[in-house]
C-alpha cells in the first residue's frame, strides 16, 4: 500500500518538476531583465519583432527570426545557410526549450547579432521570452 502511494507520488511529481524547471529559467531571466529596466514583458510585441524583417548586408540581405525558425513556433525550422533542422521553439511542443538560462542567453546573443546586427535589449529579450513561452 505504502509503495503504491510512493509510486503515485513520484508519478505526480515528475510533470510538476518539469513545469517548475521550465518556468524557473524563464522566471530568473525575466527578473534579471526587470532589474535592467524591462519590467513588463509583452508577448504581442515579441511576436511583432519575431516576424519583423531587418535589412542587412551580405549573403542574406533580409533577415528575421522567422528566416530560420519560421513564423510558427510549433514547427520545425531550417537554418537558412546550413539547411540543418532546428527543433520547434515553443516549450509546449518541445519541453527542452527555455529550461537553461545560460543557453537562452547564448542564443539571444548570437542570433540577435546575426538578425539585427546588434545584441538585443533587456526589454526585447523579455518580450521574446514571453512570446516563445506562450505564442499567440
Amino acid at each position: 500500500m505504502k509503495i503504491h502511494i510512493l509510486i503515485a507520488a513520484l508519478v505526480i511529481s515528475i510533470p510538476a518538476d518539469f513545469v517548475q524547471a521550465e518556468s524557473a529559467a524563464v522566471d530568473s531571466l525575466l527578473q534579471n531583465y526587470a532589474a535592467q529596466g524591462a519590467a513588463t514583458a509583452d508577448a504581442e510585441r515579441g511576436k511583432r519583432m519575431w516576424e519583423e524583417k531587418f535589412n542587412r548586408d551580405g549573403e542574406f540581405p533580409e533577415r528575421s527570426c522567422a528566416s530560420c525558425h519560421t513564423q510558427d513556433l510549433t514547427r520545425t525550422g531550417i537554418h537558412v545557410k546550413t539547411n540543418k533542422e532546428i527543433k520547434p521553439m515553443t516549450p509546449s511542443v518541445n519541453p527542452k526549450r527555455l529550461t537553461d538560462s545560460k543557453k537562452i542567453e547564448k542564443w539571444f546573443k548570437r542570433n540577435c547579432k546575426w538578425t539585427l546586427g546588434r545584441e538585443c535589449t533587456a526589454l526585447e529579450k523579455a518580450d521574446f521570452l514571453a512570446y516563445i513561452n506562450k505564442p499567440s
Binding site: 537554418h79 545557410k81 539547411n83 540543418k84 547564448k106
Partner: protein
C-alpha cells in the same frame, strides 16, 4: 562419489566461465575488425558531447580529422565572424573545444582519410574550409553542380551529411553516398 561430484563441478564451472569468454572474444574480434576497416578507410567519428552540442547545433559536427590542427586553431580564433555568423563561446567551452579539435585533427590522426587530407595541404597553408583542400576537391570533381548547388536538398557542398549518410560517424566511403533526388552515387 565425492570425486565424481567434484569433477562434474569443475567441468560445469569451466564451461560457464569459458563459454562467455570465447563468445565475447568473438565479439571483440569482430569489433576490432570493423574498427580496423574504418581506420584504414575513413576518419574518426565525433564522440565529444560538448563539441556536438556547441558546434553541431547549426551545422553538422564536422569530424576534426578533416583539417589539420593549424586550421582549427585559426578558425577558432575568429568565431565572432564564423562564415558570416556569430558563433562566440564562453572562454571555458572555447578552450575545451580547441583542445578536442587539435588532439583529433588530421595531422594527429592515423586514419587513412585524415592522412590524405593532411598530406594534401601545404605546410604553410591553414585552410578553414574543408572544401578548400585539394584532396576534397579531387574527391568531388566529378559531381555536377546540379546535384549540389542546384539541389534544394543539398544547397551547398559543405553539407556533408546531405549525401554522406554516415558522415558524423566519420564514414565517407562510396557505399554510404546517397544524393537526394538522384540516388546512390557510384564512382
Amino acid at each position: 562419489m565425492k570425486a565424481t561430484l567434484a569433477v562434474t563441478a569443475v567441468i560445469f564451472t569451466l564451461g560457464f566461465v569459458t563459454i562467455p569468454v570465447v563468445w565475447s572474444d568473438g565479439d571483440f574480434r569482430w569489433k576490432e575488425m570493423e574498427e580496423y576497416e574504418h581506420r584504414s578507410t575513413d576518419v574518426a567519428a565525433v564522440e565529444n558531447p560538448v563539441y556536438k552540442e556547441e558546434c553541431g547545433s547549426c551545422h553538422m559536427a564536422y569530424p576534426p580529422g578533416l583539417l589539420p590542427a593549424r586550421s582549427w586553431t585559426k578558425m577558432m580564433a575568429g568565431l565572432e565572424d564564423h562564415f558570416g555568423d556569430d558563433a562566440e563561446l564562453d572562454p571555458d567551452t572555447h578552450k575545451a573545444i580547441i583542445r578536442f579539435l587539435v588532439e583529433n585533427s588530421a595531422d594527429q590522426s592515423d586514419y587513412r582519410r585524415s592522412r590524405k587530407f593532411s598530406q594534401s595541404i601545404g605546410s604553410n597553408d591553414a585552410p578553414i574550409r574543408i572544401s578548400d583542400t585539394s584532396y576534397f576537391r579531387h574527391e568531388h570533381d566529378e559531381i555536377p553542380d546540379r546535384m549540389v548547388t542546384g539541389n534544394t536538398k543539398v544547397k551547398n557542398i559543405s553539407q556533408c551529411d546531405a549525401c554522406h549518410t554516415d558522415a558524423e560517424r566519420g564514414a565517407f566511403n562510396e557505399h554510404d553516398i546517397y544524393i537526394p533526388g538522384y540516388g546512390r552515387w557510384d564512382d
